[in-house]
Amino acid sequence: MKRIYLYIPLLALALGSCNKVMDTKPLDTYTASDVWGSYSLAEGYIFNCYANVVGSFMTRWSDDILTKDMLNEPWGGSFESEKTGQIDKYTDEGWDNFANIRAVNLALLNLRTTSFTAIEKNTLTGEAYFLRSAIYFLEAERFGGVQLVRNVLSPDSNFAIARSSLKDTYDFILSDLDSAAALLPTTNDRGRATTGAAYALKMRVALQAGAFLNDDSYYQQVIQAGNKLFAEGQYSLDSYTNLFNEYSTAVTSAENIMVFDKLSTNTSYQNTPMQSLVPNSAETGGKLTPTAAALFPLAETFEGWQNFSPTQDLVDDYLVTDADGAEKTWDQTTYAKTGGNANTMMYQHRDLRFYASIAYDSTRYYGNTIYTRTSGNVSNVNSPIAGGCLSEGTSTAYIFRKYIYQDNKLWYSDPVNFCYSVLRLGEAYLNYAEASILLGDEATARAYITKTYQAHGGFTNTITATGTDLWTAYKRERNVEMILENGDRYWSLLRWGVQTMGGLKTGYENSGYVIPELNGPIHGVAITIDGRGYTLFSKNELNNLPLLFTPKRYFFPVPYAQIQANPLLTQNPGWN
């Protein structure tokens, strides 16, 4: 009997622990069959791709800093090294996007075998093609021909993949866009791709391809895609202010073909471009110099971290309707000569986009009247304007207003809605015009340039220029239309440079051809303290160097570490 009692605990010891306690599982993740078996989960999978691809690649507002349109301010600028030619083969400008490519390829693979309705399946598949083309277009713009991964690779795949030719790369992108256009619906949730978005992106891609490949057939594709887009009749030009100065009008604007919007639920000022475009009046110690404080007090402080200022080079492109009713550059107007004060000489009767995009001396900005003049309340203490208060004020006498919603004071952690224009009709018109010029159809070009010129610029005249004048007018129009959107200025300047050279021919890196708009100093204006006079000045970039573009920079270098890892990769010309 006693012995039996003894065995009970021994038995317990032996069997005491039950291995079933280890049969746990992750409680917060789905399985593959969950995701691809449910339309709403599959849709969420595509949403995740949108967030990564559109959020990173199609909202690249700051790429324009590579041009003379924008100046780095001392507070954490970017692209200085690229801008002044100080990069080398070790620099990585974003070569590796394979994770995003895999995500999209995985959707394409799995969507094939789902049991969703045809419309559901087509929409998600079309979106995946659209997103893949966006990734590869960004790569092609930067690096030329890249490694094309068309399928989901597995760990035992062969990864020694060489770069495809530039033509194959662009053709691959354009065919993805054709697939997308064939599958996508004409209307979709706001933020998601449609046939219109596929056509609009195709116009952008084909225009770039045509120049770099020196092949008119791509311009034909621009025209064809444009015709289909315009035939949809869904989109119409809106006021520039509606597009860029207020969230509620931006998201609902009929001009937007595709937007990327962010909600205040999980977005604060610091997650939007506003944070790095608005000056900061507190960091230097919270006060203006005695002169500035006496003459130009601030009613409220600015709480941005101004990284970038618009420049005189950009401002010059906003035309003025002169007293005679003709549009001229501001320095050609009678106002500039008769004057009175700097403001009336320079800033009256401008293109409406000027007032929607640029804050200048003696204008309202948030709750203040700002003064960008010498000793002004937002002029940079270290700039040629000098005498101001802010180390994070403007060095050029201009501050961006485009993409700034002034309904609330900017405070970095305050929640805010924000809407990026990803694709819109205005750009499509200009792409159409550029392709028309290059195909020799100046009349069509003039008609399409006039659309934004009148609707956005507020001018009453039509564009009548021809030949090189038309080209100049077109470039000017595109600059003022597209600033801060998707790096359009920089990539357009490259495209125009290549067009001028007649395509990227062998040896281009030594051609000596440089793009004038990407070389030399930047310009700003110094308005006198009384606001009566002004002086234009030139200024180097933040690193004290002028802009420097050498032809090898038509493409960025392939990062050296990549070439070391995969000997099949070839370096772009000029970077070895």
């Binding site: 010891l13 399985t31 995701v35 995740n48 949108y50 994770a99 490694q147 760990p155 000098a386 890892a565």
Partner: protein, 1106 residues
């Protein structure tokens, strides 16, 4: 050797010497007489008291008796030997026999009887203590009540009172004397708690350090983990600042940092806990702590053991009258070191200097006249001189601790209850950050002697409440540091001025960030000494644990006003509320067996352990609160609400085994291990075996050792060696299950914020994943010398970790777009080092006792083979593989500042560095290719966590006064100065007085480059280089405590009320020596000084026992 000082007292001495009538059975052939005595004691419980020295000349004896009386045996032993014996108070005193024919001893003095009592330092009677007349072998042992009677002739005689585990004491003999024996700390160390069992210092074969809290329990440490710094060999602790509730990091021998295992496993009273439970322990409740350092000691924890084990044993009830002890400690914290900030005039000067460097000429920010105004404070309204540090941070913050413990009971039931309260305030001028912690610990043991069953119920837990300004200390300090002295803090009417990043508005926030923990734990243990099998004990343990952790952040600033009285706009209040619930259980069955036959001793342990638990968490948020009056979610703007939630579960199973055998405590061998399972791995791959073997050889017990008198050099010397494997869980949990992750609120579709789903890590078809395995070797010796005054342990250790899960990158896989699945890689790490501990205990005369201890730990480690990618591996200068990790990182080597234009022109510069001039940093073209680029990076500097740490403990006591202290320090460690301390952001980043030491033509040997900002030369001076490394090694007086035993005062002693009454003053971080003192406190060394500083603490306390 003092004749009277060394006794071999039998193990059962404290049991009453009931039985001279008891019978003994002994069978010994040619054995030393002492062996017979031992046997008598063991079988009867009678103490046999004798002088070891006399027995040296005795012939071995042969005794074979069965059920003989003690007297019979002793007669047998002393047959023909010049000794006799006497039975006094149930003790046997051995004494020399008067030689036959010797003259009769002189007539004794008239005898008188004296009576006395022997008590321990808690006032409990000490039964079986030896009381001897000094210089003689005449003496008695105390009875159950600790009483003794002696017949004495000479009235001036002194008595020597001794007992195992207590310090031997002398006293003048007088009637009704009371002798208090203090417990010898060395004796407390004799029993060592190890994983799933106990061992002794003599027999231990693994690397284990132990500590009790006696030497520092009066010091004003905020938690036990802080208190351990510098006190234990092999244990390395790095401070985390003085903010209430901050806890330093702790490692045992550095852990295994390369596989992410640095924190040790915490085990409290046998159950695996976490660090939070450990630091919440009340120091008074701790009986002792063992630190298990090598695999031989840790293998019984198998797969969680690779970073070492901290084993805490809390106090258990003591039988006897109820005893109550209260102790408290009132402490004042003050920042130990905080660098001086710039005043207004210095700020103005440096602003001008920076502006000038940027090309704006002299006086471009502040004119000469304004400078004069600032310097002489002529216009304090316009140009104030605000000292942001002192206007936000007061000098002293109060910290207090109150502990009560109660213990008592009888042979059947014993109890211990400890209650603790700890409160720590902050140095914010309004004390807006504070921590309260209440803890309880109770255990009740009931013994059912008839069936050999002990039932223990343990209940313990704590409640902690911490509140702080919602902005958080790091952010507040960044604003204290970076706010300009030229910014006035208040308006004329005394309200907070309106400006951004106002530290005053932050600390005076009507909101808060509050974190509470409710932790409750219950353990029920049945320990059954099986009556039918001698030496077998079976134990069943059940433990259940609930932790509830709510937190609430009501984020708002104090109202600020513009100069005109209007409200300065700041963000509307927001509220975030979170709750985490964790429950877990632990069920264990143990079997312990011990058996001795002759000199052979065997111990064996087997156990099974099942642990499982789950956690759930959720959070909720609303913004736009119209007022701060209601801090509940319901008052917020419902349109802003956000919530979230998650849950996890886990389970582990382990089977433990250990066998230990020794021969005469001389040759010792131990095998131990655990077969451990975890839910990290796929079924079939869950279990791993983690075995160890260790050997010990007590050389000092060898005949040759004794015969060659080596005992005079080392009276104890033991060699040890161990080898074993422990494991750790690596990589990602459930890496064998293909998963899709949920990413909340990633994308806005049609104005709705939608969740996204993304592919999880790739999984491998063959699912061949398992535990990391750390093979550990330890060689060491334990010794005592200088007549037991100096004791020490030394260890050399080496570990090698393999089975490292990873996604190998040796080959090019970028186009895959994902990391490779986790596989068992060939990667391996190594770690090696030493730790040692020396303790000297001595006395000067009769009344001065002192001790001096030294301990240190050094280790280094490397990737023997890493999982770095092929490109990284090709650079021998910067790859991690093969480099001991004593470097800070890969960076440029800075050659100092340019002092002449030739060195600028004649040396390569970075491609993007522009406009270099004198006072800029020059970098070495390490590969000599005429360019300075990433190829010139080298592994430079020293590791930021110290690889060498040491401590020097000391103490001295004299007539009730005791002084205990600790010096502690580290070897070289580097901190890379952050961009704020570097001042790279221009004017607003010049905040500290030490930054004024910048280069100019009058100060060419400066600590900082020329004044300016990163804009000057495209950041040349601030690229990653050795220029900004600062050596932060230190040596500091970590603690000092002076105590006085008030019972030394006759009136108090005579009152008889107090069993304990002492008062003390103490302090921590009292003195610091370090090369980096001008920048920051060397222990915390926050790169930007954005951190609540390390405290220096002064305290007062009392300890009262009834």
């Amino acid at each position: 050797m003092q004749l009277t000082s060394v006794y071999l007292l039998a193990l059962c001495l404290q049991a009453s010497a009931a039985g001279l009538a008891q019978k003994v059975s002994i069978s010994l052939t040619d054995a030393p007489v002492s062996r017979v005595f031992t046997e008598i004691s063991r079988q009867t419980g009678v103490s046999v008291i004798y002088n070891e020295g006399w027995l040296k000349g005795l012939k071995p004896v042969t005794v074979h008796v069965r059920d003989a009386s003690v007297s019979e045996v002793l007669e047998l032993c002393f047959k023909g030997q010049p000794f006799t014996y006497e039975i006094v108070n149930n003790n046997v005193l051995i004494k020399p026999a008067a030689p036959p024919g010797a003259p009769a001893p002189p007539a004794p003095h008239p005898l008188r009887d004296i009576h006395g009592r022997v008590l321990d330092d808690k006032g409990s009677p000490v039964a079986g203590a030896s009381v001897l007349i000094k210089g003689t072998q005449v003496g008695v042992a105390t009875n159950e009540k600790g009483e003794f009677s002696l017949s004495l002739g000479d009235s001036t005689v002194r008595l020597v009172i001794s007992y195992v585990g207590m310090e031997t004491t002398e006293a003048r003999a007088r009637d009704n004397m009371v002798v208090v024996l203090k417990s010898a700390t060395q004796a407390a160390e004799d029993i060592i708690v190890v994983g799933y069992g106990k061992d002794t210092r003599q027999k231990i074969t693994s690397a284990v350090s132990t500590i009790t809290t006696d030497d520092f329990k009066n010091d004003p440490y905020t938690d036990i983990q802080s208190a351990l710094q510098g006190r234990v060999s092999g244990v390395m602790i790095n401070a985390a600042g003085g903010e209430p509730g901050s806890v330093p990091s702790m490692t045992i021998r550095g852990g295994e940092p390369l596989i992410g295992q640095t924190a040790p496993l915490y085990v409290i009273d046998g159950i695996i806990r976490d660090q939070t439970a450990f630091v919440a322990l009340n120091m008074n409740d701790i009986d002792n702590i063992s630190f298990l350092k090598d695999a031989a000691a840790t293998a019984v924890y198998g797969a969680q053991a690779s970073a070492g084990i901290v084993l805490v044993t809390t106090k258990q009830g003591k039988a006897g009258k109820m005893q109550l002890t209260y102790s408290n400690n009132m402490a004042w914290n003050t920042p130990s070191l905080f660098p001086k900030l710039l005043d207004s005039y210095q700020k103005a000067l440096v602003s001008n200097a920076v502006s000038k460097a940027l090309g704006n000429g002299n006086y471009s920010v502040y004119s000469a006249a304004v400078l004069d105004t600032i310097q002489h404070n002529l216009d304090p309204a316009e140009y104030p001189n605000t000292d942001w540090y002192h206007s936000t941070f007061r000098k002293y913050a109060l910290q207090q601790r109150h502990d009560v413990d109660v213990t008592g009971g009888n042979a059947q039931t014993r109890y211990y209850i400890g209650l603790g309260y700890f409160n720590q305030g902050s140095n914010y001028v309004n004390n807006s950050e504070k921590l309260d912690r209440f803890s309880y610990r109770s255990n009740i043991v009931s013994s059912f002697d008839k069936i050999g069953l002990d039932v223990t119920l343990g209940l313990n837990g704590y409640f902690s409440y911490q509140t702080q300004p919602p902005t958080g200390a790091a952010s507040i300090f960044s604003h204290i540091v970076a706010q300009s002295p030229l910014q006035p803090p208040y308006n004329k009417d005394g309200s907070f001025a309106g400006f951004v990043d106002d530290p005053l508005a932050e600390i005076y926030s009507p909101g808060y960030s509050r974190n509470e923990i409710f932790y409750n734990d219950g353990t029920l243990t049945f320990a059954w000494s099986v009556p039918w099998i001698k030496g077998l004990k079976l134990t069943a343990i059940g433990d259940y644990n609930l932790a509830y952790n709510p937190s609430k952040i009501f984020n708002v600033l104090a109202t600020q006003y513009n100069a005109d009285g209007t409200i300065y706009p700041t963000p509307a209040p927001t509220l975030t509320q979170e709750e985490s619930n964790t429950r877990s259980y632990d069920v264990e069955f143990h079997a312990d067996y011990s058996h001795s036959f002759g000199k052979h001793n065997l111990q064996a342990t087997a156990a099974s352990v099942t642990r499982a638990g789950s956690n759930s968490w959720f959070s909720a948020y609303r913004g736009n609160f119209p007022s701060t009056a209601i801090d509940l979610l319901s008052a917020g703007d419902a349109s802003t609400q956000v919530n979230n939630g998650s849950a996890t579960e886990w389970g582990n199973v382990g089977y433990v085994g250990r066998v230990k055998y020794d021969y005469d405590s001389r040759y010792i061998v131990e095998l131990a291990g655990r077969y451990d399972g975890s839910d990290y791995f796929p079924p079939g791959k869950r279990f791993g075996l983690f075995p160890s073997v260790s050997l010990g050889w007590a050389v000092s017990k060898e005949r040759f050792y004794v015969q060659s008198y080596l005992t005079h050099i080392f009276d104890f010397f033991k060699l040890r060696g161990s080898i074993g494997t422990t494991g750790s869980v690596g990589g990602t949990k459930y890496a064998y299950i293909p998963q899709y992750n949920v990413n909340t609120q990633v994308f806005v579709a049609n104005g709705n914020l939608e969740n996204g789903y993304s592919e999880g890590a790739l999984t491998l078809d063959n699912q061949n994943i398992t535990w990391y395995a750390t093979r550990s070797y330890d060689w060491g010796f334990d010794f005592s010398t200088l007549k037991h005054h100096l004791t020490g342990e030394f260890n050399y250790f080496f570990t090698r970790t393999t089975n490292i899960l990873g996604s190998p990158k040796f080959s090019y896989t970028d186009p895959l777009g994902q990391g490779l699945p986790q596989v068992l890689t060939n990667a391996a790490t190594r770690k090696a080092g030493i730790d040692l501990n020396l303790t000297y205990k001595g006395d000067i005369g009769r009344s001065i006792k002192y001790y001096l201890g030294f301990n240190c730990t050094y280790f280094n480690y490397l990737w023997e083979r890493s999982n770095e990618d092929s490109v990284t591996l090709t650079n021998p200068y910067t790859r991690a593989q093969g480099y001991t990790q004593s470097y800070y990182g890969a960076m440029y080597y800075a050659m100092g500042l340019y002092q002449n234009y030739q060195s600028i022109l004649n040396n390569p510069v970075r491609i993007s560095s522009t406009a270099l001039t004198l006072g800029d940093v020059q970098y070495l073209d390490a590969n000599g290719d005429g360019q300075i680029n990433a190829q010139d990076y080298r592994n430079l500097g020293k590791s930021s966590t110290p690889l060498f740490q040491y401590g020097i403990t000391f103490g001295i006591s004299y007539k009730g006064i005791s002084l205990d202290g600790l010096f502690q320090g580290t070897g070289v460690k580097d901190v890379y100065l952050g961009q704020y301390v570097q001042a790279q952001g221009g004017t607003q980043r010049y905040n500290f007085a030490f930054q004024l030491d910048y280069w100019n033509q009058y100060n060419t040997q400066s600590a900082f480059p020329r004044a300016g900002s990163s804009a000057l030369n495209n950041g040349n001076n601030y690229v990653n280089s050795s220029y900004w490394l600062v050596n932060t090694q230190y040596f500091r007086l970590k603690s000092l405590s002076l105590g006085y035993d008030l019972r030394r005062i006759p009136a108090i002693r005579q009152s008889g009320v107090f069993k304990e009454l002492s008062a003390f003053v103490s302090g921590t971080n009292l003195l610091t020596f370090s090369p980096c003192k001008k920048y920051f406190d060397p222990e915390l060394a926050d790169a930007n000084n954005f951190f609540y500083p390390v405290n220096k603490t002064y305290s007062l306390g009392v300890r009262v026992g009834f």
